[in-house]
């Protein structure tokens, strides 16, 4: 379900939340109704289910009708809850929130002790998570997810994919909320069902959560275990982890290697600098942003150019758009960039509009934007020198750091939902945690601080344009090293923006270099 669609489904979402409170009660009451031991299986019901599944590929409405018929004609049949679950899933795929909710409620109320009811709870929690706008709503989604474990324990269902999936979701939400208990959720998934389909996802979540807690050795075990799993499993002996989990795991391990292990051997923090993506032919690089997988989006102020470069430096896409700068990656995995009058999605994606606090129209003079932890966006702009948080479906945006006393020029998102902002006036980097507590993590003596980048271990990088140098600090704010202006054979002349990819490589956009510089 896309973000835009989620906005449209707000009213049903409220209904979901309301009902979520009573889900536990409903489930308990329905235990006496549902007794698997007495279920019969009617051949007609089996044929109907078969027909519905056949129709599903060619005629969704027909399939829905068949599932509905089955559930109404054979409400006590073993296949009835399966049919209702199919209705819910199909309705969800068709983005019919009302039908989805109705089917899920029916499943929980009528067949509350069936494995399909566990799936219903799990789906409800996913929907609640997708539309959550604040911490309370995230907690709500997490509580629903946890209900699966409470109601469908291993004593009754030794293996239940819905339970592990719900636990993984609970861990994901917990991590977003900065809850150390997320580690417990992910651990439970791994411990309960190490061969299950959510094992990889849980391992990645566990690794991230452990890293966020500073348990990097334990994180290595979790993440490397995921890579080992990919090397040693195949379709015959287990679930092969998807690349979507392997790539971030590999990146995080590389990051740990670079930040924690390599320095122990006496090697420099950065070993080398490379010309990166020379084929770009940049005239006046104005911004750069790296995704976790090493993909980079770059903007050029000297020519109409926005380009996507993969981790090997190959240009994979470019568009001729002029005047963009300071790109960032949206939650949908597509880049966005700042324009004079708002935000642009040069490679597609739903439009993002950040309105001005005080007057009608978009917020102008944007300096930096980042995706929010729970949807929405964070922004700093010339017209409003504070830090603003735009939440989905809510107005006005929250001023996290008051305007007026500082001159914020850049921001970035760090691990565990923390936001870092660079204050040029005070020469400091300030960290905003998940509960909007603001802490100054470093006070620098920079000539002209201009850009900020954070890696997934909380190391942060400050670009000082005045000295054409990047200052590196660890998560506690201790200076680690500086980079530039000369880095090996490359000399920085007018660095404009910096970014750090998922594996800890620093990428520099220099207005006077025709290429990017990648330092690792």
């Amino acid at each position: 379900m896309s973000m835009s669609r989620m906005t449209q489904t707000k009213p049903p979402r409220r209904a979901l939340r309301g009902r979520a409170v009573t889900l536990g009660l409903v489930a308990l009451l329905s235990t006496w109704v549902w007794n698997e031991g007495s279920r019969a299986q009617d051949p007609a019901a089996a044929r109907l289910l078969d027909e519905a599944r056949r129709l599903q590929a060619v005629d969704e409405a027909g399939a829905l009708e068949a599932y509905d018929l089955l559930s109404r004609q054979f409400p006590d049949d073993a296949l009835a809850p399966k049919a209702v679950l199919e209705i819910a899933e199909l309705s969800r795929a068709r983005r019919d929130a009302t039908a989805t909710e109705r089917a899920l409620d029916h499943l929980i109320e009528r067949y509350g002790r069936s494995p399909e009811a566990a799936e219903a709870y799990r789906m409800k929690s996913e929907i609640l998570f997708e539309v959550a706008r604040n911490e309370a709503e995230l907690e709500d989604a997490r509580a629903t997810a946890r209900r699966v474990s409470l109601l469908f324990g291993p004593d009754r269902y030794p293996i239940l994919p819905a339970r592990e999936r719900a636990l993984a979701l609970s861990g994901t939400i917990g991590a977003l909320l900065g809850d150390p208990g997320a580690v417990a959720d992910f651990s439970a998934v791994i411990e309960n069902d190490p061969l299950g389909p959510h094992h990889a996802e849980a391992r990645l979540g566990l690794g991230r959560s452990l890293l966020a807690r500073g348990d990097w050795q334990a994180a290595i075990e979790a993440l490397q275990g995921l890579l080992d799993l990919a090397e040693t499993t195949d379709a015959t002996n287990g679930v092969v982890p998807a690349e979507a989990t392997l790539a971030p795991a590999r990146a995080l391990l590389s990051l740990i290697h670079r930040r924690y292990i390599r320095p122990q051997t006496g090697q420099p923090f950065f070993a080398q600098a490379k010309v990166f993506a020379p084929a770009l032919g940049l005239e006046q690089a104005s911004g750069v942003a790296a995704a976790a997988n090493g993909e980079v989006v770059v903007t050029d102020g000297g020519q109409p150019l926005v380009a996507l470069v993969d981790a090997t430096g190959t240009v994979v896409a470019r568009t001729a758009t002029r005047g963009l700068e300071r790109p960032f990656w949206g939650r949908d995995g597509r880049p966005a960039a700042l324009a004079d009058d708002g935000l642009v999605r040069p490679f597609g994606g739903s439009a993002i509009r950040l309105d001005d606090l005080d007057k009608d129209g978009p917020l102008k003079g944007l300096l930096a934007v980042a995706s929010g932890r729970i949807g929405g966006h964070l922004a700093v702009a010339k017209s409003h020198s504070g830090l603003l948080r735009y939440a989905v479906g809510s107005w006005p945006p929250k001023t996290v750091i008051e305007a007026g006393k500082q001159d914020l020029v850049d921001l970035d998102r760090g691990p565990e939902g923390r936001t870092y902002v660079l204050d040029k006036r005070s020469g400091s980097v300030r960290r905003v945690d998940a509960r909007d507590r603001v802490v100054t993590v470093v006070q620098g003596t920079w000539k002209r601080a201009w850009a900020l980048a954070i890696d997934q271990l909380g190391y942060f990088f400050v670009l000082d344009r005045g000295e054409a140098r990047i200052h590196v600090y660890d998560a506690a704010g201790n200076p680690v090293t500086t980079v530039g202006p000369a880095i090996g054979s490359i000399t920085l002349r007018a660095p404009n923006d910096i970014t750090v990819d998922g594996s800890g490589r620093l990428v520099i956009a220099d207005a006077k270099l025709p290429h990017l510089v990648r330092v690792e």
Partner: protein, 759 residues
Amino acid sequence: MSHIPTTRRLWAIGRRSLAWAIIASVSVAVAVSAQVDQVEQEDLPEPEMSVWVAGAPIPLDATEAADLDEVEAALANDLPGLEARRDAAVEQLEALVEAGNPTPEARRRLARLLGWRARDYMRGGDQFAGERDLARAVDVDPSFQADPRMADGRRTLVDLVERLREARVGTVRFQDLDPPDLALRIDGRLYPITDGTVEVTAGLHTFSARRPGYTPWQTEVEVRADQEVDIPLVLERSSAILRLVTRPAGATVWVDDQPRGSTVGAGDAGPGTPSAPGTFSIPLVLTELPMGRHTLEVRSPGHRSYRVVLSIEEPIDYEIPPIALEPERGRLLLGNVPDNATVRVNGQALEPVSRRAGQLRFDLVPGTYTLLVDQGPERMFTRTLAMADRQTIEVDVRLLPGLALHTAVGADARTATRVAEFLDRVFAASSAWTAVDQRRSTARVLQASGLDTPTLRGGPEPGSTAAGTDWSALQRAADQHADGLMHILPVASDDLLAHRVDLLVWPSAPGPPTPDRIAIDLDDLDASARLTAAFSRTVPTRRPWLGVQMLDSDAALHPVVATVTPGSPADSAGLAPGDEIVSVAQVPVLVASAIDQRIRVAEIGETLRLGVRNASGNRTVEVQLAWSPTIVDPRADDFRGAVAFANLKLLESRVPAEDVWTVQLDRARLLMAAGSWVEAARALRAIEAPASTIGVGRATVDYWLGVALMAAGPTYRESAISAFERAASQPDGRLRDHDGPWIAPRARARLSAAGAIER
């Protein structure tokens, strides 16, 4: 006419005949000799001759006779209020007489009862009725004499009887009675001959006599009241007869390969009813035996045949010494049976005939037997035997862990048979398990435990396997009625045309009651091998240990050492964080999993050459692998809960003492995997793990104890928190093995999730 009693004479003849005229094979002769000895020792009772006659009257039932005795005694003692019982007894005996074939005893009893009733009538003044009863008494039993007590001090009734006898009874005197044991019938009714005379009512009577080996005799004689008639009665010998008795009764007697009859018992209820065990039948008389040599054979099911050749030389009575048939027997020799093992045959405990140096001997009658030798469920042996007479079967007993095979659920007869045959075949070839067929003993029990076939079949979702069945109750029921370390319940697919069967396998208590589900396809050629493999899993307790944590990094071509465990082989060999492992045993490695796999297949103590690279350059490191305890992960290792649990139970007594705790922890983990939280916690609490602070050990046990207690319910929350706190306090504690996942962060997270530490 001889005065020697008939039977004695016959016995004497029989004795004489033992000198014989009988030709027997050597083996039979031995048998006969032995039987004769036995018979003499047992003091064989003389047989009753009356049973020779066909149509012999049925004697009074013992209970009836006792009842009649009581009535008579009461009448003789003049007890009041007996009219109803008296009349009922008269009526009963009259019916017997009217039926046509009463015993002499019945006639005598009826006459006496009529006499007592006549006395009562006459006392009451009903002279007519009294005289009528007395007349009837004399008719029924012409030898009837009034009891003096009937006279009641006056002679009237006695005299009346005398007068009636004079008027209605005559005497027949048989002259030259021969043979004296002949059976006499008058008008078809059996009459005993006393002193060669009988008293009969006046009139025309038919006298007949017969005796086996003689020509039947018959004549009609007019007998007049109060007169004596002399009748010569000498039967003409027609053939030889042969009398024999057998033990047991019921044996069939064949002469010259033709069946000639069967012996019958003489139980408490009279001739023809089963004999008490160990007693002989009543005599069987074979008649019409022609002169010459004959083959006599006596057969009885379950007994060896008795066969002799006899020679009939003259038409006399022959009597064969009592024939005690020897039961058929086979010999079962069981080798290697421990002293305290129990031997059961067809479910019944059996004591050996002899026991010598671990070899037990049993004598069994021919038949099919299921043999079960056991020393508890962990050491069992079973075999099905077909024993024949005189066969010796030697069985080398090998006690193995037992599997209880239960009857297939939801299967048609054909599939059920196929399943049973399949399992028999697979486990008969197993050297790890003994499959004990419990289908008969538990079918009804399992049925009564409320098993629901559709539920047992489960759905496509793995999680639905256990729903709707009370596995604990099933485990209890199965344990109660069947021995075995594990139970196997086949559940047929609902597609009865196919041959897909799920084997539900669960251990006996205290193992987790939730079963494993092993799917087999009877049509699959590899099904046997797969099932054998499923039951042949071994449980490792140790694994080779290097002591490093590796990672794969984009910043290195080869796996990178991330951490080195202090005191580990890697530490001793000088490996350090940041080292890249270029090769293992001269094989280049690019990913960390390749190193782990190489170590897993290495021998403990093996020296590996590692190619190592770091900022200082390349070097070769030799590292001797040590060992680490290893804890199974029930699901990750695809370790079947039931099979694993059973294996672990066996393993505990076999592993070195320092490994016992790992086996116990494995077992607790299996209980956890089955959701048996309290049982798991109990098992975990009992584990005495090493207190080492690095790697697996006490912290491992504490962590799992915390997990089990937390899952067991709110009651155990505080205990769970304590366990997690202990686990969290060991920063180098690991799960699974010394290089496994760190425990402390997980324990801290569990504490956080439990609200025991601040978020």
